[in-house]
């Protein structure tokens, strides 16, 4: 078995990386704290929103192994759009026979967000519909009210949603696992970006007449973060394979991916902050934009404790 991404998958990743690097700048992420972001038309134009819809419904018919790298790139730039929720929603709606919704989502004409019952819905204020994932399945809410709540990451607005929904017949557990995997992938991208920021800073910041990156104590911090991220990546990619193939141990693998990615990204944030020193604590410096997204996503779609329990249940029984 050849466990590697294909040339096409790498090319898709690189294309999205180049586009987002040019458009989703730190200044744009910062601006999204104050006003709604405007990347959805770009994502639609480039075909990112159509990745998982079937070709008959205007999509590319791609699976988790295709989009996991794209989601990593979305994380790398802290894309302030509910792409995780979009990825979770499209296949669920398709499985439920909601072809019109799928077409509208794939083209970018409509936006849907997804949340776990009792939790927060991201960007519900700009959504045309909301999907609520509960213990007994999923519901589609087309008429709903929202209340905004304070959030650590100002570019990821959180809402509680109220309203009556219509049941969806698709696999809600699979939708949940897609959301978890997409979150893990974004955390991986975020972690790599905060580490890159620290490495660049360590080359530029000089102390005692030389760059601080030349000091072993600083190098150790950076290497610790890099190792954690390198070990997390194959766990996330393994989970993508399990989601793509509907592996019987899919839930275990995505939970492990979320644990590894959360811990790696969180460590990268701590190390990056340490290397940056005082400037890393300032609002004006960009580091906090990524760190706050890591904090938010580490708690989203199940925190590490919830996923450890889920993994343990999967391994040892409830």
């Amino acid at each position: 078995m050849r466990a590697a991404f294909t040339e096409d998958q790498i090319m898709l990743r690189d294309t999205v990386r180049d586009t987002l690097a040019a458009e989703c700048t730190p200044a744009a992420v910062r601006a999204s704290w104050e006003q709604p972001s405007a990347f959805w038309p770009l994502l639609a134009e480039q075909g990112v929103l159509a990745l998982t819809a079937s070709e008959e419904l205007g999509g590319l018919g791609m699976g988790a192994l295709d989009w996991v790298l794209v989601l990593e790139e979305a994380g790398r730039v802290a894309l302030p759009e509910p792409l995780i929720e979009h990825i979770a929603a499209v296949e669920l709606l398709a499985e439920s026979g909601e072809a019109e919704w799928v077409e509208r989502l794939a083209s970018g004409e409509a936006r849907v967000t997804v949340f776990q019952s009792g939790g927060y819905a991201v960007s519900a204020d700009t959504a045309d519909a909301v999907i609520r994932l509960g213990d007994t399945g999923a519901e589609l809410l087309t008429e709903f009210t929202t209340v905004r709540h304070a959030a650590a990451d100002g570019s990821r607005p959180l809402f509680t949603v109220d309203g009556a929904g219509a049941p969806l017949s698709g696999d809600a557990d699979a939708a949940l696992d897609r959301a978890i995997l997409a979150t893990a992938a974004q955390l991986l991208g975020l972690g790599n970006q905060v580490l890159d920021l620290a490495v660049e800073y360590s080359k530029a910041r000089r102390q005692f007449g030389k760059p601080i990156g030349s000091f072993q104590a600083v190098q150790h911090h950076l290497v610790d973060a890099l190792l954690k991220l390198k070990f997390a990546a194959p766990v996330v990619h393994r989970a993508a394979h399990s989601v793509a193939t509907n592996d019987p141990q899919r839930a275990l693998h995505v939970s492990m991916a979320k644990i590894y990615a959360s811990e790696a990204a969180s460590l990268a944030c701590r190390k990056s902050l340490q290397v940056h020193g005082a400037i890393g604590y300032t609002f004006e410096y960009d580091l906090h934009l990524w760190m706050k997204r890591v904090w938010a996503l580490s708690e989203a779609w199940g925190n590490p404790a919830w996923h450890r329990n889920r993994a343990a249940s999967s391994l040892f029984g409830a």
Binding site: D8, M11, L12, T15, L42, Q46, V48
Partner: protein, 258 residues
Amino acid sequence: MNIGVCAKISPHADARIKIKSDGSGVDTKGEKLVVGDYDEYAVEEAIRTKEAHKGAVTAFTVGATSDEKLVRSGALALGVDKAVLISDDAAVNAGPLGTAKLLAAAIKEAGCEIVFTGKAATDDGNSQVSAMIAELLGWAQVSQVTKFAIEGTSFTATRAMDAGVLQIVSGSLPVVITCEDGLNDPRYPKLPDIMKAKRKPLSKIGAGDLGLADVAATSSESNFAPPPPRPASRIIEGDAASAAQELVRLLREEAKVI
């Protein structure tokens, strides 16, 4: 309309340029390579011309065999219909004139009526090949174009001259249009088009296929060196008024920039 566009694969504009240890040129190993910045404008304008006037666009590249992937992602995925990659040893070692001979021969063979090029390559910035192509083909050339339109077999191009002066040039096809920053806003490739680009025709040929025997560089390049390191910053002491006066004096007398 049969449209041509020349696209050179060069290091990304953000690449950290390294010099080969013997000073014979730029070491591109490990650098991200892309269709050059100005050539991106040329590709975009070629595609827009096709969209406005029908026809097909052919991209022409002189480069390494490994440039195929980059031509596909940087030209075919955007809407160029086919590509010609001239990539034998003779082509790789051709200088500006040799490169122009190869491109002109390929353009002539393809029967293009108009060719777009960037105003300069991102790597060497020679700005020679476009004019040479026009000369070899016996066509007109308009350089540094920031606005372009075709009507029938006539064209109107706006040139950005020095000091902000614009010049409007009109003429008849065929013509080589050399594209300047600001001509257009290059599009991003769409993910479905990236997949389709793999199936678009790309022919790899050599100098011999174009009937050209000698395209070797007629000049040589040597003693490449990085720019000298920037001197340390200076902090001007004193109150705002005297510091401003001193800053102006330094800019005028030492930096000689005002």
